[in-house]
Protein backbone atom coordinates (compact mmCIF):
# COMPACT_ATOMS: atom_id res chain seq x y z
CA UNK A 1 0.00 0.00 0.00
CA UNK A 2 2.92 2.30 0.61
CA UNK A 3 4.39 1.63 -2.83
CA UNK A 4 2.79 4.59 -4.47
CA UNK A 5 3.76 7.06 -1.78
CA UNK A 6 7.05 6.12 -0.21
CA UNK A 7 10.36 6.30 -2.06
CA UNK A 8 11.50 3.30 -0.02
CA UNK A 9 11.89 0.13 -1.96
CA UNK A 10 11.44 -3.08 -0.03
CA UNK A 11 14.48 -5.31 0.05
CA UNK A 12 12.82 -8.23 -1.76
CA UNK A 13 12.52 -6.23 -4.99
CA UNK A 14 16.27 -5.91 -5.18
CA UNK A 15 17.82 -8.16 -7.79
CA UNK A 16 19.19 -11.28 -6.23
CA UNK A 17 22.81 -10.73 -7.23
CA UNK A 18 22.89 -7.41 -5.43
CA UNK A 19 21.53 -8.97 -2.27
CA UNK A 20 24.08 -11.78 -2.48
CA UNK A 21 26.88 -9.27 -3.03
CA UNK A 22 25.80 -7.19 -0.04
CA UNK A 23 25.41 -10.32 2.06
CA UNK A 24 28.90 -11.58 1.28
CA UNK A 25 30.52 -8.25 2.07
CA UNK A 26 28.48 -7.94 5.25
CA UNK A 27 29.61 -11.39 6.34
CA UNK A 28 33.24 -10.54 5.61
CA UNK A 29 32.92 -7.52 7.86
CA UNK A 30 30.90 -9.15 10.64
CA UNK A 31 32.62 -12.52 11.00
CA UNK A 32 36.04 -11.21 12.13
CA UNK A 33 34.39 -8.87 14.63
CA UNK A 34 31.96 -11.45 15.95
CA UNK A 35 34.66 -14.09 16.19
CA UNK A 36 36.68 -11.66 18.29
CA UNK A 37 33.86 -10.92 20.70
CA UNK A 38 32.81 -14.56 21.01
CA UNK A 39 36.39 -15.79 21.12
CA UNK A 40 36.81 -13.79 24.29
CA UNK A 41 34.17 -16.02 25.88
CA UNK A 42 35.85 -19.28 24.91
CA UNK A 43 38.64 -21.28 26.39
CA UNK A 44 41.85 -21.58 24.45
CA UNK A 45 41.06 -25.15 23.47
CA UNK A 46 37.61 -24.26 22.24
CA UNK A 47 39.05 -21.60 19.93
CA UNK A 48 40.55 -24.47 17.99
CA UNK A 49 37.67 -26.90 18.12
CA UNK A 50 34.80 -24.44 17.75
CA UNK A 51 36.08 -21.39 15.88
CA UNK A 52 32.82 -20.01 14.48
CA UNK A 53 30.04 -21.13 16.80
CA UNK A 54 28.74 -19.78 20.06
CA UNK A 55 30.83 -20.76 23.09
CA UNK A 56 29.82 -24.10 24.61
CA UNK A 57 30.60 -22.78 28.04
CA UNK A 58 30.69 -19.03 28.44
CA UNK A 59 33.98 -18.18 30.14
CA UNK A 60 33.04 -14.92 31.79
CA UNK A 61 36.32 -14.92 33.71
CA UNK A 62 38.20 -13.86 30.59
CA UNK A 63 36.27 -10.63 30.58
CA UNK A 64 35.78 -10.09 34.28
CA UNK A 65 39.47 -10.70 34.94
CA UNK A 66 40.30 -7.79 32.66
CA UNK A 67 37.42 -5.60 33.84
CA UNK A 68 38.55 -5.95 37.44
CA UNK A 69 42.20 -5.29 36.65
CA UNK A 70 43.58 -1.88 37.33
CA UNK A 71 45.56 -2.09 34.12
CA UNK A 72 42.54 -1.93 31.81
CA UNK A 73 41.09 1.15 33.47
CA UNK A 74 44.49 2.82 33.63
CA UNK A 75 44.89 2.39 29.85
CA UNK A 76 41.44 3.77 29.13
CA UNK A 77 42.00 6.63 31.52
CA UNK A 78 45.29 7.58 29.84
CA UNK A 79 43.66 7.46 26.42
CA UNK A 80 40.75 9.53 27.69
CA UNK A 81 43.00 12.20 29.21
CA UNK A 82 45.14 12.48 26.08
CA UNK A 83 42.12 12.55 23.76
CA UNK A 84 40.27 15.09 25.90
CA UNK A 85 43.31 17.36 26.09
CA UNK A 86 43.71 17.08 22.34
CA UNK A 87 40.06 17.81 21.60
CA UNK A 88 39.75 20.76 23.97
CA UNK A 89 42.97 22.39 22.82
CA UNK A 90 42.19 21.76 19.15
CA UNK A 91 38.72 23.27 19.46
CA UNK A 92 39.97 26.37 21.26
CA UNK A 93 43.01 27.05 19.13
CA UNK A 94 41.45 26.10 15.79
CA UNK A 95 38.17 27.96 16.30
CA UNK A 96 39.98 31.15 17.29
CA UNK A 97 42.19 30.98 14.19
CA UNK A 98 39.25 30.01 11.98
CA UNK A 99 37.30 33.00 13.27
CA UNK A 100 40.08 35.37 12.25
CA UNK A 101 40.35 33.78 8.80
CA UNK A 102 36.58 33.90 8.34
CA UNK A 103 35.86 37.47 9.44
CA UNK A 104 38.96 39.63 9.52
CA UNK A 105 40.63 40.71 6.32
CA UNK A 106 44.25 41.65 6.80
CA UNK A 107 47.39 41.72 4.75
CA UNK A 108 48.76 38.19 4.35
CA UNK A 109 45.70 36.36 5.67
CA UNK A 110 45.44 34.02 2.71
CA UNK A 111 49.17 33.34 2.89
CA UNK A 112 48.91 32.42 6.55
CA UNK A 113 45.95 30.18 5.84
CA UNK A 114 47.85 28.28 3.16
CA UNK A 115 50.77 28.05 5.56
CA UNK A 116 48.56 26.35 8.15
CA UNK A 117 46.90 24.04 5.64
CA UNK A 118 50.31 22.76 4.57
CA UNK A 119 49.79 20.38 7.48
CA UNK A 120 47.40 18.37 5.29
CA UNK A 121 50.13 17.44 2.87
CA UNK A 122 52.33 15.14 4.91
CA UNK A 123 51.95 12.76 7.87
CA UNK A 124 53.42 13.32 11.32
CA UNK A 125 55.70 10.35 10.71
CA UNK A 126 57.94 12.29 8.34
CA UNK A 127 59.43 14.37 11.12
CA UNK A 128 58.92 11.98 14.00
CA UNK A 129 62.57 11.96 15.12
CA UNK A 130 63.05 15.74 15.25
CA UNK A 131 59.63 15.93 16.88
CA UNK A 132 60.81 13.49 19.54
CA UNK A 133 63.91 15.61 20.16
CA UNK A 134 61.81 18.78 20.31
CA UNK A 135 59.40 17.28 22.83
CA UNK A 136 62.36 15.97 24.85
CA UNK A 137 64.06 19.36 24.86
CA UNK A 138 60.81 20.97 26.02
CA UNK A 139 60.79 18.53 28.95
CA UNK A 140 57.46 17.05 27.84
CA UNK A 141 58.65 13.51 27.21
CA UNK A 142 56.56 10.91 29.02
CA UNK A 143 53.76 13.40 29.73
CA UNK A 144 50.22 13.64 28.42
CA UNK A 145 50.96 17.03 26.89
CA UNK A 146 53.93 15.65 25.02
CA UNK A 147 51.48 13.52 23.02
CA UNK A 148 48.56 15.95 22.96
CA UNK A 149 50.37 19.07 21.74
CA UNK A 150 51.81 17.51 18.55
CA UNK A 151 48.41 15.90 17.93
CA UNK A 152 46.76 19.30 18.22
CA UNK A 153 49.33 20.81 15.87
CA UNK A 154 48.67 18.16 13.26
CA UNK A 155 44.88 18.34 13.55
CA UNK A 156 44.83 22.14 13.18
CA UNK A 157 44.86 22.28 9.40
CA UNK A 158 41.72 20.23 8.84
CA UNK A 159 39.92 21.69 11.85
CA UNK A 160 40.56 25.28 10.79
CA UNK A 161 39.30 24.61 7.27
CA UNK A 162 36.08 23.01 8.50
CA UNK A 163 35.41 25.65 11.14
CA UNK A 164 36.23 28.57 8.85
CA UNK A 165 33.78 27.37 6.22
CA UNK A 166 31.04 27.09 8.82
CA UNK A 167 31.80 30.50 10.36
CA UNK A 168 31.71 32.10 6.92
CA UNK A 169 28.31 30.62 6.22
CA UNK A 170 26.76 32.17 9.32
CA UNK A 171 24.60 35.19 8.42
CA UNK A 172 26.91 38.14 7.92
CA UNK A 173 24.35 40.64 9.20
CA UNK A 174 24.86 39.30 12.71
CA UNK A 175 28.43 40.51 12.84
CA UNK A 176 27.65 43.86 11.24
CA UNK A 177 24.81 44.51 13.64
CA UNK A 178 26.90 43.52 16.62
CA UNK A 179 29.78 45.76 15.54
CA UNK A 180 27.48 48.75 15.08
CA UNK A 181 26.22 48.12 18.58
CA UNK A 182 29.76 48.37 19.86
CA UNK A 183 30.31 44.69 20.47
CA UNK A 184 33.94 43.66 20.05
CA UNK A 185 35.09 40.88 17.74
CA UNK A 186 36.17 38.83 20.71
CA UNK A 187 32.80 39.15 22.45
CA UNK A 188 31.05 38.33 19.22
CA UNK A 189 33.16 35.19 18.88
CA UNK A 190 32.41 34.07 22.43
CA UNK A 191 28.74 34.94 22.61
CA UNK A 192 27.49 34.56 19.06
CA UNK A 193 29.80 32.50 16.87
CA UNK A 194 30.56 29.69 19.31
CA UNK A 195 26.99 29.07 20.50
CA UNK A 196 25.78 29.02 16.89
CA UNK A 197 28.53 26.62 15.85
CA UNK A 198 27.75 23.68 18.09
CA UNK A 199 27.16 21.24 15.20
CA UNK A 200 30.52 21.89 13.56
CA UNK A 201 32.30 21.96 16.91
CA UNK A 202 30.78 18.58 17.70
CA UNK A 203 31.88 17.24 14.33
CA UNK A 204 35.44 18.53 14.59
CA UNK A 205 35.62 17.40 18.20
CA UNK A 206 34.44 13.91 17.32
CA UNK A 207 36.93 13.42 14.50
CA UNK A 208 39.77 14.74 16.63
CA UNK A 209 38.72 12.48 19.47
CA UNK A 210 38.59 9.36 17.31
CA UNK A 211 41.98 10.12 15.77
CA UNK A 212 43.57 10.70 19.15
CA UNK A 213 41.86 7.72 20.78
CA UNK A 214 43.19 5.43 18.06
CA UNK A 215 46.62 6.96 17.61
CA UNK A 216 49.66 4.79 18.09
CA UNK A 217 52.84 6.27 16.63
CA UNK A 218 53.03 9.50 18.64
CA UNK A 219 52.42 7.90 22.06
CA UNK A 220 54.77 5.07 21.10
CA UNK A 221 57.58 7.55 20.53
CA UNK A 222 56.78 10.09 23.25
CA UNK A 223 55.90 7.89 26.24
CA UNK A 224 58.24 5.63 28.21
CA UNK A 225 56.41 4.43 31.28
CA UNK A 226 53.62 1.86 31.37
CA UNK A 227 51.55 4.02 33.67
CA UNK A 228 51.20 6.66 30.93
CA UNK A 229 50.37 4.37 28.02
CA UNK A 230 47.12 4.80 26.13
CA UNK A 231 45.28 1.61 25.21
CA UNK A 232 46.76 0.96 21.73
CA UNK A 233 50.21 0.78 23.31
CA UNK A 234 48.93 -1.17 26.29
CA UNK A 235 47.20 -3.78 24.18
CA UNK A 236 50.34 -4.37 22.13
CA UNK A 237 52.24 -5.05 25.34
CA UNK A 238 49.44 -7.26 26.60
CA UNK A 239 49.62 -9.23 23.38
CA UNK A 240 53.37 -9.59 23.84
CA UNK A 241 52.90 -10.97 27.36
CA UNK A 242 50.08 -13.39 26.54
CA UNK A 243 51.29 -14.19 23.06
CA UNK A 244 49.63 -17.60 22.71
CA UNK A 245 46.63 -17.09 24.95
CA UNK A 246 44.37 -15.78 22.25
CA UNK A 247 41.17 -16.07 24.30
CA UNK A 248 42.51 -13.45 26.74
CA UNK A 249 43.82 -11.23 23.96
CA UNK A 250 40.48 -11.40 22.16
CA UNK A 251 38.63 -10.42 25.34
CA UNK A 252 41.04 -7.54 25.81
CA UNK A 253 40.58 -6.37 22.21
CA UNK A 254 36.81 -6.52 22.60
CA UNK A 255 36.88 -4.45 25.76
CA UNK A 256 39.19 -1.84 24.26
CA UNK A 257 37.18 -1.36 21.07
CA UNK A 258 33.94 -1.27 23.04
CA UNK A 259 34.23 2.49 23.81
CA UNK A 260 34.91 3.24 20.14
CA UNK A 261 31.93 1.15 19.19
CA UNK A 262 29.64 2.90 21.66
CA UNK A 263 30.84 6.31 20.54
CA UNK A 264 30.23 5.30 16.95
CA UNK A 265 26.66 4.27 17.73
CA UNK A 266 25.98 7.44 19.70
CA UNK A 267 27.70 9.94 17.42
CA UNK A 268 27.56 8.21 14.04
CA UNK A 269 26.19 11.30 12.37
CA UNK A 270 29.11 13.42 13.50
CA UNK A 271 31.66 10.72 12.81
CA UNK A 272 30.47 10.00 9.29
CA UNK A 273 29.91 13.67 8.51
CA UNK A 274 33.26 14.64 9.91
CA UNK A 275 35.39 11.89 8.47
CA UNK A 276 33.90 12.08 4.99
CA UNK A 277 32.66 15.66 4.61
CA UNK A 278 35.86 16.82 6.26
CA UNK A 279 37.75 14.94 3.62
CA UNK A 280 35.63 16.24 0.76
CA UNK A 281 35.81 19.84 1.80
CA UNK A 282 39.47 19.77 2.67
Amino acid sequence: MSDALAPRRPLDLMPLYKAVFLGVVALLVIVPLLATVLGGFKSLGELRTNPFGLPETWEWENYTGILFSQRYWQLLWNSLVIATLTVVLTLIVASMAAFVFAHIHFFGSSMLLSYLTMGLLFPAATAILPLFIKVRDLGLLDSYLGVALPQVAFSLAMSILLLRRFFKDLPHELLEAALVDGCSYIDFFRHVTLPLSRPILATVGTITFVHSWNSYLLPLVMLNSDSMYPWPLGIMIYQGEFSAEWHLILAFITLTILPTFLLFILAQKHIVAGLTAGAVKG
Partner: protein, 311 residues
Amino acid sequence: MSQHGGTIAIPQEARAPAARGRRGAIDSRLAALLLFLPPALMLFTLFVVLPIGEAAWYSGFNWNGFGKPTRWIGLDNYRFVFDSRGFGTAFKNNLLIIVVSLTIQLPLALALALILAERFRGSVALRMLFFLPYVLAEIATGLIFSFIYDGNYGLLASIYRAFGAEAPHLLASTQTSMLAILIVVVWKYFGFHMMLFIAALQGMDRNLVEAARIDGASRWQVLRYVVIPLLYPTIKLSIFFAVVGSLQLFDLVMPLTRGGPADSSNTMVSFLYNHGVSRMRVGYGSAIGVILFVICVTFAFTYKRWFMRNE
Protein backbone atom coordinates in the same frame (compact mmCIF):
# COMPACT_ATOMS: atom_id res chain seq x y z
CA MET B 1 23.70 35.29 25.06
CA SER B 2 21.25 37.61 26.68
CA GLN B 3 23.18 38.19 29.88
CA HIS B 4 25.79 39.98 27.79
CA GLY B 5 23.86 42.90 26.44
CA GLY B 6 26.44 43.87 23.84
CA THR B 7 25.32 41.41 21.23
CA ILE B 8 21.61 41.56 20.67
CA ALA B 9 19.98 43.89 23.19
CA ILE B 10 21.67 47.28 23.16
CA PRO B 11 22.56 48.66 26.57
CA GLN B 12 22.56 52.41 26.98
CA GLU B 13 26.30 52.88 27.44
CA ALA B 14 27.03 51.02 24.20
CA ARG B 15 25.29 53.65 22.08
CA ALA B 16 28.46 55.47 21.19
CA PRO B 17 28.86 58.12 18.49
CA ALA B 18 29.48 56.58 15.10
CA ALA B 19 33.10 57.76 14.90
CA ARG B 20 34.02 56.15 18.19
CA GLY B 21 32.23 52.99 17.13
CA ARG B 22 34.39 52.72 14.05
CA ARG B 23 37.61 53.25 16.01
CA GLY B 24 36.45 50.67 18.51
CA ALA B 25 35.73 48.17 15.76
CA ILE B 26 39.23 48.53 14.35
CA ASP B 27 40.81 48.22 17.77
CA SER B 28 38.74 45.16 18.58
CA ARG B 29 39.69 43.68 15.22
CA LEU B 30 43.34 44.14 16.02
CA ALA B 31 42.83 42.66 19.47
CA ALA B 32 41.14 39.58 18.01
CA LEU B 33 43.89 39.22 15.44
CA LEU B 34 46.67 39.45 18.00
CA LEU B 35 44.95 37.19 20.49
CA PHE B 36 43.41 34.54 18.24
CA LEU B 37 46.02 33.83 15.62
CA PRO B 38 49.31 33.31 17.50
CA PRO B 39 48.35 30.09 19.37
CA ALA B 40 47.63 28.23 16.15
CA LEU B 41 50.64 29.67 14.36
CA MET B 42 52.97 28.89 17.25
CA LEU B 43 51.78 25.32 17.78
CA PHE B 44 51.87 24.60 14.09
CA THR B 45 55.29 26.11 13.58
CA LEU B 46 56.78 24.47 16.64
CA PHE B 47 55.48 20.93 16.13
CA VAL B 48 54.95 20.64 12.37
CA VAL B 49 57.08 23.06 10.38
CA LEU B 50 60.24 23.27 12.47
CA PRO B 51 60.62 19.48 12.82
CA ILE B 52 60.51 19.13 9.04
CA GLY B 53 63.26 21.72 8.68
CA GLU B 54 65.24 20.06 11.44
CA ALA B 55 64.84 16.69 9.77
CA ALA B 56 66.57 18.14 6.71
CA TRP B 57 69.37 19.46 8.95
CA TYR B 58 69.77 16.30 11.08
CA SER B 59 69.80 14.10 8.00
CA GLY B 60 73.30 15.39 7.27
CA PHE B 61 74.68 13.95 10.53
CA ASN B 62 75.54 10.62 12.02
CA TRP B 63 73.81 11.22 15.34
CA ASN B 64 72.24 9.12 18.09
CA GLY B 65 70.19 11.99 19.50
CA PHE B 66 72.30 12.73 22.56
CA GLY B 67 74.28 15.93 22.94
CA LYS B 68 74.64 18.03 19.84
CA PRO B 69 74.92 16.64 16.32
CA THR B 70 78.60 17.01 15.35
CA ARG B 71 79.50 14.25 12.93
CA TRP B 72 78.57 15.81 9.61
CA ILE B 73 78.47 13.22 6.86
CA GLY B 74 76.80 15.18 4.09
CA LEU B 75 74.44 13.16 1.94
CA ASP B 76 75.70 9.77 3.13
CA ASN B 77 72.49 9.00 5.02
CA TYR B 78 70.52 9.34 1.81
CA ARG B 79 72.97 7.03 0.09
CA PHE B 80 72.55 4.48 2.91
CA VAL B 81 68.76 4.67 2.56
CA PHE B 82 68.77 4.18 -1.20
CA ASP B 83 71.37 1.42 -0.99
CA SER B 84 69.44 -0.59 1.58
CA ARG B 85 67.30 -3.35 0.17
CA GLY B 86 64.72 -2.86 2.89
CA PHE B 87 63.80 0.64 1.81
CA GLY B 88 63.33 -0.47 -1.79
CA THR B 89 60.99 -3.21 -0.60
CA ALA B 90 59.10 -0.75 1.57
CA PHE B 91 58.70 1.63 -1.35
CA LYS B 92 57.43 -1.20 -3.55
CA ASN B 93 55.03 -2.28 -0.81
CA ASN B 94 53.62 1.24 -0.67
CA LEU B 95 53.11 1.14 -4.44
CA LEU B 96 51.48 -2.27 -4.10
CA ILE B 97 49.04 -0.93 -1.53
CA ILE B 98 48.16 1.90 -3.91
CA VAL B 99 47.65 -0.52 -6.80
CA VAL B 100 45.38 -2.76 -4.72
CA SER B 101 43.47 0.26 -3.45
CA LEU B 102 42.81 1.39 -7.01
CA THR B 103 42.05 -1.97 -8.60
CA ILE B 104 40.14 -3.74 -5.85
CA GLN B 105 39.11 -1.36 -3.10
CA LEU B 106 37.88 1.51 -5.26
CA PRO B 107 35.64 -0.59 -7.57
CA LEU B 108 34.31 -2.45 -4.54
CA ALA B 109 33.51 0.80 -2.75
CA LEU B 110 31.89 2.25 -5.85
CA ALA B 111 29.74 -0.83 -6.46
CA LEU B 112 28.55 -0.86 -2.85
CA ALA B 113 27.85 2.86 -2.95
CA LEU B 114 25.74 2.53 -6.10
CA ILE B 115 23.59 -0.04 -4.34
CA LEU B 116 23.47 1.58 -0.92
CA ALA B 117 22.86 5.15 -2.07
CA GLU B 118 19.32 4.01 -2.83
CA ARG B 119 16.99 4.00 0.13
CA PHE B 120 15.62 0.64 1.14
CA ARG B 121 15.09 -1.13 4.40
CA GLY B 122 18.48 -1.84 5.91
CA SER B 123 20.52 0.40 3.61
CA VAL B 124 21.53 2.78 6.37
CA ALA B 125 22.40 -0.08 8.71
CA LEU B 126 24.58 -1.65 6.02
CA ARG B 127 26.33 1.65 5.36
CA MET B 128 27.13 1.94 9.03
CA LEU B 129 28.31 -1.65 9.20
CA PHE B 130 30.66 -1.15 6.26
CA PHE B 131 31.94 2.10 7.72
CA LEU B 132 32.63 0.52 11.12
CA PRO B 133 36.04 -0.98 10.24
CA TYR B 134 37.25 2.50 9.31
CA VAL B 135 36.42 3.79 12.78
CA LEU B 136 38.17 0.96 14.61
CA ALA B 137 41.74 1.61 15.65
CA GLU B 138 44.36 0.26 13.28
CA ILE B 139 46.01 -1.48 16.21
CA ALA B 140 42.84 -3.33 17.18
CA THR B 141 42.14 -4.23 13.55
CA GLY B 142 45.68 -5.51 13.12
CA LEU B 143 45.41 -7.65 16.26
CA ILE B 144 42.04 -9.07 15.22
CA PHE B 145 43.52 -10.16 11.92
CA SER B 146 46.69 -11.48 13.46
CA PHE B 147 44.31 -13.78 15.34
CA ILE B 148 42.46 -14.70 12.16
CA TYR B 149 45.73 -15.48 10.39
CA ASP B 150 47.21 -17.35 13.36
CA GLY B 151 48.41 -20.75 12.17
CA ASN B 152 47.23 -22.59 15.30
CA TYR B 153 44.13 -20.89 16.64
CA GLY B 154 43.05 -18.60 13.83
CA LEU B 155 39.85 -18.73 11.80
CA LEU B 156 41.79 -19.25 8.60
CA ALA B 157 43.60 -22.24 10.09
CA SER B 158 40.24 -23.73 11.10
CA ILE B 159 38.95 -23.41 7.56
CA TYR B 160 42.07 -25.10 6.21
CA ARG B 161 41.80 -27.88 8.75
CA ALA B 162 38.15 -28.41 7.88
CA PHE B 163 39.33 -29.28 4.38
CA GLY B 164 42.08 -31.44 5.79
CA ALA B 165 44.81 -29.08 4.62
CA GLU B 166 47.87 -27.81 6.42
CA ALA B 167 47.22 -24.36 7.87
CA PRO B 168 49.49 -21.67 6.41
CA HIS B 169 51.32 -19.15 8.59
CA LEU B 170 50.59 -16.20 6.35
CA LEU B 171 52.31 -13.63 8.52
CA ALA B 172 55.45 -15.67 9.06
CA SER B 173 56.43 -16.08 5.45
CA THR B 174 58.15 -13.45 3.33
CA GLN B 175 56.04 -14.66 0.41
CA THR B 176 52.64 -14.03 1.97
CA SER B 177 53.15 -11.39 4.68
CA MET B 178 52.35 -8.51 2.35
CA LEU B 179 49.31 -10.28 0.90
CA ALA B 180 47.96 -10.67 4.42
CA ILE B 181 48.39 -6.95 5.06
CA LEU B 182 46.77 -5.98 1.76
CA ILE B 183 43.64 -7.94 2.65
CA VAL B 184 43.36 -6.08 5.94
CA VAL B 185 43.93 -2.72 4.20
CA VAL B 186 40.97 -3.36 1.90
CA TRP B 187 38.86 -4.63 4.79
CA LYS B 188 39.54 -1.56 6.86
CA TYR B 189 39.31 1.24 4.33
CA PHE B 190 36.72 0.30 1.68
CA GLY B 191 33.91 1.68 3.85
CA PHE B 192 35.48 5.12 3.95
CA HIS B 193 35.66 5.32 0.17
CA MET B 194 32.15 3.94 -0.08
CA MET B 195 30.89 6.78 2.13
CA LEU B 196 32.63 9.33 -0.10
CA PHE B 197 30.80 7.91 -3.10
CA ILE B 198 27.46 7.73 -1.30
CA ALA B 199 27.77 11.36 -0.27
CA ALA B 200 28.51 12.30 -3.88
CA LEU B 201 25.66 10.19 -5.25
CA GLN B 202 23.19 11.74 -2.86
CA GLY B 203 24.30 15.21 -3.84
CA MET B 204 23.88 14.38 -7.50
CA ASP B 205 21.24 16.05 -9.63
CA ARG B 206 18.61 13.34 -10.11
CA ASN B 207 17.18 15.17 -13.11
CA LEU B 208 20.17 14.25 -15.25
CA VAL B 209 19.59 10.58 -14.57
CA GLU B 210 15.85 10.93 -15.16
CA ALA B 211 16.45 12.80 -18.40
CA ALA B 212 18.78 10.11 -19.69
CA ARG B 213 16.25 7.44 -18.77
CA ILE B 214 13.49 9.28 -20.61
CA ASP B 215 15.76 9.61 -23.64
CA GLY B 216 15.87 5.83 -23.71
CA ALA B 217 19.26 5.14 -22.19
CA SER B 218 19.61 1.72 -20.62
CA ARG B 219 20.48 1.27 -16.97
CA TRP B 220 24.05 0.46 -17.91
CA GLN B 221 24.33 3.43 -20.27
CA VAL B 222 23.08 5.77 -17.58
CA LEU B 223 25.73 4.42 -15.24
CA ARG B 224 28.52 4.54 -17.78
CA TYR B 225 27.78 7.88 -19.45
CA VAL B 226 25.99 9.90 -16.77
CA VAL B 227 26.62 8.69 -13.24
CA ILE B 228 30.30 7.71 -13.47
CA PRO B 229 31.34 10.94 -15.25
CA LEU B 230 29.50 12.91 -12.58
CA LEU B 231 31.49 10.96 -10.01
CA TYR B 232 34.90 11.78 -11.54
CA PRO B 233 35.71 14.46 -8.95
CA THR B 234 34.94 12.00 -6.15
CA ILE B 235 36.91 9.23 -7.84
CA LYS B 236 39.90 11.58 -8.09
CA LEU B 237 39.47 12.43 -4.44
CA SER B 238 39.20 8.77 -3.49
CA ILE B 239 42.42 8.02 -5.38
CA PHE B 240 44.09 10.92 -3.63
CA PHE B 241 43.15 9.53 -0.22
CA ALA B 242 44.18 6.02 -1.16
CA VAL B 243 47.66 7.26 -2.06
CA VAL B 244 48.04 9.52 0.95
CA GLY B 245 46.75 6.75 3.21
CA SER B 246 49.23 4.29 1.77
CA LEU B 247 52.10 6.72 2.27
CA GLN B 248 51.37 7.00 5.98
CA LEU B 249 50.37 3.41 6.71
CA PHE B 250 52.07 2.25 9.89
CA ASP B 251 49.72 1.35 12.75
CA LEU B 252 48.21 -1.56 10.85
CA VAL B 253 51.58 -3.08 10.01
CA MET B 254 52.91 -3.21 13.56
CA PRO B 255 50.45 -5.65 15.15
CA LEU B 256 50.42 -7.86 12.06
CA THR B 257 54.07 -8.28 11.10
CA ARG B 258 56.13 -5.38 12.46
CA GLY B 259 57.38 -5.11 8.89
CA GLY B 260 58.82 -8.60 8.90
CA PRO B 261 59.77 -11.28 8.35
CA ALA B 262 63.09 -10.01 7.04
CA ASP B 263 61.70 -6.55 6.17
CA SER B 264 59.33 -8.12 3.64
CA SER B 265 56.21 -6.24 4.68
CA ASN B 266 57.45 -2.80 5.69
CA THR B 267 55.84 0.37 4.49
CA MET B 268 58.10 3.39 4.29
CA VAL B 269 56.87 4.62 7.66
CA SER B 270 57.34 1.28 9.40
CA PHE B 271 60.81 1.06 7.81
CA LEU B 272 61.51 4.51 9.23
CA TYR B 273 60.34 3.31 12.64
CA ASN B 274 62.19 0.00 12.62
CA HIS B 275 65.49 1.31 11.30
CA GLY B 276 65.50 4.91 12.45
CA VAL B 277 63.36 5.49 15.52
CA SER B 278 63.72 2.25 17.46
CA ARG B 279 67.53 2.37 17.07
CA MET B 280 67.71 6.13 17.63
CA ARG B 281 69.59 6.67 14.40
CA VAL B 282 68.41 10.23 14.15
CA GLY B 283 70.31 11.21 11.01
CA TYR B 284 69.34 8.09 9.10
CA GLY B 285 65.72 8.23 10.24
CA SER B 286 65.51 11.91 9.39
CA ALA B 287 66.80 11.19 5.89
CA ILE B 288 63.98 8.65 5.42
CA GLY B 289 61.54 11.23 6.77
CA VAL B 290 62.76 13.85 4.31
CA ILE B 291 62.42 11.40 1.43
CA LEU B 292 58.89 10.59 2.56
CA PHE B 293 58.11 14.27 2.90
CA VAL B 294 59.36 15.01 -0.61
CA ILE B 295 57.29 12.14 -2.00
CA CYS B 296 54.14 13.29 -0.20
CA VAL B 297 54.46 16.95 -1.16
CA THR B 298 55.45 16.23 -4.76
CA PHE B 299 52.53 13.88 -5.10
CA ALA B 300 50.05 16.31 -3.54
CA PHE B 301 51.11 19.19 -5.76
CA THR B 302 51.36 17.33 -9.04
CA TYR B 303 48.11 15.49 -8.40
CA LYS B 304 46.31 18.72 -7.58
CA ARG B 305 47.80 20.44 -10.61
CA TRP B 306 47.12 17.66 -13.07
CA PHE B 307 43.87 16.14 -11.92
CA MET B 308 42.12 18.48 -9.56
CA ARG B 309 42.53 21.78 -11.36
CA ASN B 310 38.95 22.84 -11.03
CA GLU B 311 38.33 21.83 -7.45
